[in-house]
Every structure is written in structure tokens, then in C-alpha cells.
Symmetry: C2
Subunit: 197 residues, 2 copies
């Protein structure tokens, strides 16, 4: 059944991919093919992945379904992070992002289950917030050796502004300049009953 849920549009500023294994830093492409495995050629593509520190309820290395195929960041949130860190800019590529999106308010807060529809068939579903870790902080620091403690300050500065991870619901193509339609899931409230069922 179709449901009325809030929706609006953003714009894809950059499509980025990481084809190396040594570094997570991404490189800009004009467009990219998307399969059920993720962004073609990207190091995070795959139907499954190994459990890690983000899924501590599984033994490390356990094969689990890969719901972290894509990393998305917001132009506006990156600008906020740069301002907080006192540097001119933080690039999406430094964070290993695959998509930089402009015009979606509070991108990092989009709830799990949010759908992102692209003009050429690709549909992504939001898994959740991508919690910041120190890795991208070190990349930022390497670009600004003159600024104090950037690596460790990054985690706090990027809290709830580091973007999202998402998985592919429908394959297609994504191009820089694409409009992306954002559709929130229906809200669900679960309250424990006071007694019985």
C-alpha cells in the first residue's frame, strides 16, 4: 500500500569510489554503476562483510549481511565540521564517502529505513548513522599539519554530522548532478506494555 510520508529532494554533488585496499580515501568519478553488491569496484561493495567493532554482538570476522555498502555525507554538515575544527574545508573524499549530498537537512539524522531514489533506477535504503572514528581525523590532520590535534578533535566535531551508511535495494547508475528523492519511513512507536501483552 502506498503511504504518505514526508519527502523532499537533494542533489548529488560528488560520486566517489575507493578501489584500493591500503587506504579508505575515495576518488571522484562522474558516474558509477550500482549493483546489489554496492558501488562497482568500491572496497565496501559485497553482499556480505566481516563483523567488526561496529557489530560487537558477533565474533569478529563472522560473515554477516553487508548493510554498509555506501557511505553518504552532506555538504552542509561537512562545512559545519570544518568550522568546528577551524580549517577551511573537510572533503568528502577524506572521510571515504561515496556520495556527497547537498540540500538534505540534517542528513546524518535520517532514520533507518529512509529510502533514497535516484533518477536512473538506483534505490538506497539507510542503515543508520555512520559513527565517526579517528581514521578520517588522521587524514584531515595530514592535510593540516599546522593545526593542533585535528585527528582526535575530529571524532567530537563530526558527531552526528559524519553522514550515513546505506545498502542497495535496487541497482542502477548514480551520476554527479543527480537529484535524489528522500522518503522517510513510516514512524513506528514501540512501548513495552505495563503488564501482559
Amino acid at each position: 500500500m502506498a503511504r504518505k510520508t514526508p519527502q523532499w529532494e537533494g542533489r548529488i554533488v560528488r560520486v566517489l569510489v575507493c578501489t584500493e585496499r591500503k587506504s579508505f580515501v575515495t576518488k571522484e568519478l562522474p558516474e558509477a554503476r550500482v549493483s546489489f553488491e554496492g558501488l562497482e569496484g568500491d572496497r565496501h561493495a559485497g553482499l556480505t562483510r566481516a563483523a567488526d567493532v561496529r557489530t560487537p554482538w558477533f565474533p569478529k570476522g563472522t560473515p554477516i549481511r553487508n548493510t554498509r555498502q555506501f557511505s553518504l555525507v552532506s555538504s552542509e554538515e561537512l562545512a559545519q565540521v570544518a568550522e568546528t575544527l577551524g580549517i577551511p574545508r573537510v572533503l568528502a573524499s577524506w572521510l571515504g564517502a561515496n556520495l556527497e549530498v547537498a540540500g538534505v537537512p540534517r542528513l546524518t539524522h535520517l532514520p533507518p529505513g529512509t529510502r533514497l531514489f535516484f533518477p536512473e533506477d538506483t534505490t538506497l535504503v539507510v542503515e543508520g548513522e555512520n559513527e565517526p572514528c579517528i581514521g578520517p581525523g588522521r587524514v584531515i590532520e595530514a592535510h593540516h599539519p599546522d593545526v593542533q590535534k585535528l585527528a582526535s578533535r575530529f571524532v567530537k566535531a563530526a558527531w552526528q554530522r559524519r553522514g550515513l551508511v546505506a545498502w542497495v535495494e535496487r541497482p542502477g547508475i548514480i551520476r554527479a548532478g543527480d537529484t535524489v528523492k528522500v522518503v522517510l519511513p513510516r514512524p513506528v512507536t514501540y512501548v513495552l506494555p505495563s503488564s501482559g501483552v
Copy 2:
């Protein structure tokens, strides 16, 4: 990072599978193997499925990721549906369920992203509520030809009591009698900003 989220335990009353294509009615098994495709041999197993009336935002038949691998129902909610319909019982198999769970309050209300951990590795993630349609109503009616309009009354009686659909995060085995640990996702609130970002 591990998070403190509410959790409790339920019990698997029945494991059920549908190996036919003509009917969605399921049959009880003592145990079943679970792969990334779903319940082995079940008609809903598969990494992808064809878009249908439940995903009207895609052209019908489009291959999309299958997040409806498992159907779960609650013993307590089934009893409520039976009572509303005025019949002695509604069986999980009549609804095509794969798992009947007891002891989880308001099962159908569990939010998307809820994780279900089984003792022998299987982990399922809740996709969302399984909205009732008339199909199971017809099966119930066939078992009670003496009771009026059961098929059409089912949809209303089963609203928010028809259980959930879920997908496999980690493969394993599920057995009747298993304890299932239920872990709610961290709540996320998304509020549109009043102006700008």
C-alpha cells in the same frame, strides 16, 4: 560500539516452511537451516525478489533486495485474532508464517532494525509489520465454513497483530523450542529544521 538497548527473550513455538508454489500455507518442522537467502527451501527464500503491491514505488516485477525472507507471528496475537473472529484458534501455518514466537509482547509493533538472536547463530533483522491481506482470511474461512464472512473480517481483526517480516543478517539453524533474544534498535528522532540546516 556496544549500546545499551532494551532486550528480553521469547520462545520459538514452531518453525514452519512452505516448499510449494501453489499455496502459501506452511508446514511444521522440528528445525530448519537458515542461509543468507532465508529459510532453506521456503518459497520466500532468495537474495532478491520481484517488486509487488507492497513496494508500489517500483514497477511491478522489478528485481529488488529481498527483505521479506521470514514471516513471524506471535502466539498471543494469534489468540487475539481468533477471539475477535469468534473461532477457537488461528494457526500460524494458515497465515504462511515461518516462525511462531511466544512471550514477546506486541510482536507486530517491534520497530524496523530490531534484532532477533537465536542460540545457533541465526540472527534476523526486522524489516517491519506484515500488513494483513485477504489470502490468509480465505484459508481461515475454508476451515470454518459455518462462520460468516471470515475472509473479509480477517484483515481488520489481524491489523497490527499479523506479525512481522524479517531478513537474515547471520546464517545458522533455528529449532522449535529455541530461545530468541530480542534487541530493540537505538531510537532515532528526525525532525525537519524550521529553517536552513
